[in-house]
């Protein structure tokens, strides 16, 4: 008999919602691990398994019992326990009795912290069997799980994610005895429903180690990563067989792996005629309604076939394929109905309808928003030297698809449908493209608008949302950002950053605030201040995303951030310069200058004539180059040239000297040098 056993626990339920599987499995695994650590004093990995009807955990090699535990109890002082003859007193006997030992087992010693010897007993508690401990702990851990959307069933008050129908719990060759809501643990479980059509008996799991193989024999692949990998292999193979590649969707693959017990991909076809629908409509409709992947050719054009998962190993009569095809046809028929209905009216004729679609209670309708975006687009276009009339045009068209049938059905197609409808109405290329891409970037690493007009529209739309919400007090705090304003703000900064547009976000934000006008409920000054802090954070995050080191980001940001092109150039230059051998010396000197000037009053002009030492005259001579209209890169070069002279200066010159005139001249010199540094970076933040 081995001196360790393995634990296997499986909760078999009616189908658990896919989205709860991983979190519940994880939380319970943590609970088991904590119990093992606290009670058995062992650290063991807890293996996790889940499938639509199962949550399971396994821990290998657990001790059969807790280690024996001894503890020392301290009682009254020796003088109270023993009388003059060394015989036990009433107090002494009581102490022994309290801990259930004979008086002879009581020792007298001086524990730390006591001033005299005291009565002491050492008690040894035999470690309890692991089986018993598990039987107590596991039901407690399970019932203590945080179950979202918990339900009741039958006549019981018990709550769980879905009704529990079987409990399997083994420790070695024994069953860990407990029950939940009347379901008693055993050594067997249920396999796939198909399997049990021919096998009415439950599946025995002889050992914890044999769990996966026992279930696989009963038609279930119980590991989710395993199911996902098998699905992925089949998807690629079948797509290739169809002469294309799958339109990747990691999220959909995750979902499929969570909703089947046995991973099988089925390929089906739909009529070619549906390929006239925009690709996005097909991809979205297939994914949303049928949990199906699209297949595309090398040119990115869709093929008339799809891939979806079945919860069975095969499709013996072709029913699974034909059933899915049947449903998909109905869905695509609906999508085409929406598409054709929508196209009976030019997109832009819906502008009036936007008056009845609320954007934000305090900020009015989408029509109002459209008007504000139009003004912003015009202003931005003109400050970028682009044509403003297109800006107004796209702004008024961009929200019209919100009242189309298709976007009503698939909200995630907003923007995309507007663009597609405009394209089919022979709108100018840049117009429909701008509308189509104006919600971008949709994710942190998703694409940003590719066209100028699209970028302007995207910024104007997001900025109106951000500035408008700030103006009516809807400002994100801590982890609360229900309107996703941070994402919108990040989008704005990312677009500016990637397009190298010299557009001061705060100036445009001020314009956006003007647009909100009388709808604002907070004073404009306070709102601008909040917006400034907000955008500064977004810019800092953007620099981080761009991969600049912390020291570069901090010191460059402190020297100004509203000119993003300039900021980016400075970060680039600083990152390169940090490798230069002169850099450390220069940064040191810059810090030193900062320290010296910290307590000095601002003001005073530099009297070059008052300078005496050659080292300081050299520095004064260099000021001209530093303060000129030089390019950023040459400015950094000039700063680099300063490293040697500055070092020489600090070696030879004492700035805060006795002579007030000389001292004032030196302070003024340093002030001018600091000004030159601050055009690039605040080196005092360089760590």
């Amino acid at each position: 008999m081995s001196d360790t056993h393995s634990l296997l626990l499986e909760i078999h339920c009616e189908e658990i919602p896919a989205r709860f599987l991983a979190p519940l499995c994880g939380e319970c695994a943590d609970g088991i691990q904590a119990f093992l650590r606290d009670t058995l004093k062992v650290e063991r990995p807890v293996e996790r398994f889940y499938s639509p009807r199962k949550l399971a955990w396994r821990v290998l090699d657990l001790p059969l019992a807790q280690a024996d535990q001894s503890e020392t109890q301290v009682g009254p002082p020796q003088r109270m326990c023993l009388d003059a003859n060394g015989q036990p007193t009433q107090t002494g006997l009581k102490f022994a009795e309290k801990w259930g030992v004979a008086f002879g087992q009581v020792r007298f010693e001086q524990p730390t912290g006591k001033k005299e010897p005291c009565a002491v007993v050492t008690l040894t508690r035999a470690g309890r069997p692991t089986l018993e401990l598990l039987a107590e702990a596991l039901p407690r851990i399970i019932t203590g799980l945080h179950v979202p959307k918990a339900m009741r069933w039958g006549s019981s008050e018990f709550q769980f994610v879905r009704p529990i129908r079987n409990l399997l719990c083994r420790f070695g060759d024994q069953v860990v005895p407990f029950q939940l809501d009347g379901v008693v643990t055993g050594a067997s479980t249920w396999g796939h429903r198909l399997f049990h059509l021919d096998h009415p008996e439950p599946v025995a799991v002889p050992r914890a180690e044999a769990y996966e193989s026992a279930l696989e024999a009963a038609g279930i692949v119980v590991g989710c990563p395993e199911r996902r990998a098998r699905l992925e292999r089949q998807i690629h193979a079948l797509a290739a067989q169809a002469g294309g590649r799958v339109v990747a969707d990691e999220h959909l693959l995750d979902t499929l792996a969570e909703i089947v017990e046995i991973p099988t991909i089925v390929m089906g076809r739909f009529p070619d005629s549906f390929l006239t629908l925009p690709k996005e409509v097909l991809v979205t409709s297939l994914a949303e309604h049928q949990k199906a992947f699209c297949v595309e050719n090398a040119a990115g054009e869709l093929l008339p076939c799809f891939l979806t998962a079945a919860n069975r190993p095969d499709d013996p009569s072709g029913f699974v394929q034909s059933g899915n095809e049947w449903v998909l046809r109905a869905r695509l028929y609906d999508a085409r109905f929406f598409f054709e209905e929508d196209r009976k009216q030019p997109l832009r004729d819906r502008l009036e309808k936007l008056k009845h679609l609320t954007f934000q209670r305090e900020l009015g309708s989408y029509y109002d928003k459209t008007q504000r975006i139009a003004a912003l687009c015009e202003a931005m276009a003109s400050s970028l030297g682009l044509d403003g009339t297109d800006g107004r045009l796209v702004a008024q068209a961009c929200k019209c698809d919100l009242v189309t049938l298709m976007v009503g059905e698939f909200p995630e197609l907003q923007g995309i449908m507007g663009g597609e409808y405009l394209k089919r109405e022979q709108a100018h290329d840049k117009v429909w493209r701008a509308v189509k891409e104006h919600y971008q970037p949709i994710s942190a690493d998703g694409p940003v608008p590719a066209t100028d007009l699209g970028a302007i529209l995207a910024i104007a739309d997001k900025l109106d949302t951000v500035a408008g919400c700030f103006a009516v007090g809807l400002i994100p705090t801590g982890s609360k950002d229900p309107l996703a304003l941070r994402r919108a703000g990040q989008g704005i900064v990312r677009i500016l950053f990637e397009r190298d547009w010299n557009l001061n976000p705060m100036r445009v934000a001020a314009l956006a605030l003007q647009g909100v006008g009388a709808k604002a409920t907070s004073p404009a000054g306070a709102t601008l201040e909040a917006l400034e802090a907000f955008f500064r954070d977004r810019v800092a995050h953007q620099l981080e995303q761009a991969g600049y080191p912390g020291a570069v980001r901090r010191s460059a940001l402190a020297a100004g951030w509203t000119d993003l092109v300039d900021l980016k150039a400075r970060c680039e230059a600083l990152s390169a310069f940090a490798e230069d051998p002169r850099f450390q010396s220069l940064a040191q000197s810059a810090k030193r200058i900062g320290n010296i000037l910290k307590d000095e009053p601002i003001g005073g002009t530099l009297d070059v004539q008052a300078l005496r030492e050659p080292q300081e005259r050299v520095l004064a001579g260099l000021l001209g180059d530093l303060e000129g209209d030089a390019e950023r890169s040459s400015l950094l070069d000039n700063l680099a040239e300063l490293a040697g002279p500055l070092e020489a200066f600090f070696a030879a010159v004492m700035v805060k000297c006795e002579d007030p005139v000389l001292r004032a001249a030196r302070i003024a010199l340093l002030r001018r040098l600091q000004g030159a540094f601050l055009r690039v970076a605040d080196f005092s933040l360089w760590q």
Binding site: E15, K149, G154, R312
Partner: protein, 306 residues
Amino acid sequence: MHIQELISRLQHFWADRGCLIGLPYDLEKGAGTMNPLTFFGALGPKPWNVAYVEPSRRPNDGRYGENPFRVYKHLQMQVILKPSPAKVQELYIQSLEAMGVDLRQHDLRFEEDNWEAPTLGAWGVGWQVMLDGMEISQFTYFQQVGGMDCRPVAAEITYGIERICMFLTGIDNIFDLTWGEVKTDDGVFPVTYRQVRQREEYELSAYSFEHADLDLHWRMFEAFEREGWRLLKDFGHFLSGYEQALKMSHTFNVLDARGAVSTTERPGIIKRIRDLTCGCARAYVAHSEAEEQAVPAPVQGKEVRA
């Protein structure tokens, strides 16, 4: 498989499993759940198994009888099992077999789909049951009805009759389904769904999208509401009061199909219906508690086949 055969197979199946076979309630409604057999049956402690067909009207889904998949009015087969039996999923699967679905050939999945009926103050958790990728049933464990916790919990199974029939026959157009056969001295005449229903679809769609008098409907909505509260408050009549709530609900659906209810108005309108249905539910529960002694004892100890 004909529509009427499918219905009769399901009725037999559930009757054999200990369900009363109920009748559709003779008022317009959007779902079988609104039938008092479910709404009131799901409340209170008494055991209650019932199955019935319910025509369900959804003005928004009207397509003038032109769309092969969507209709203004469709048939639901509704089953209520209270308390929900431990083998309720198995029972459901057996009902599929009774319809002629051989599970050895098909893909069956239960995918999360939680149900909520805001006008009834009701919600539950459960699944949409997918057969070869098509939703053929809704399966719900009622947690609340009429704003009150369900104790015990009832399981509700709703079959979409036309869909299942289309699926089983491979027919691509709802109007091509066969309703049943008329046999006369002159021969056998199959009757299609088209013959029975298409004109009705056309007229009802036209009514809800074009001809309904909106002003009248707003006035009716108010009037039904007043009438309902009068019945409930002045007389404690929860059944006739509930009928007024059902009329409010259908009137609202007609207004909604016409786009006459703005997004901002909508929650308020729904709440007015819910207030009345929940009021009726509370009155019903109070009434049955008062009559608690009158609980019918099980007729005989015979077990129901599971």
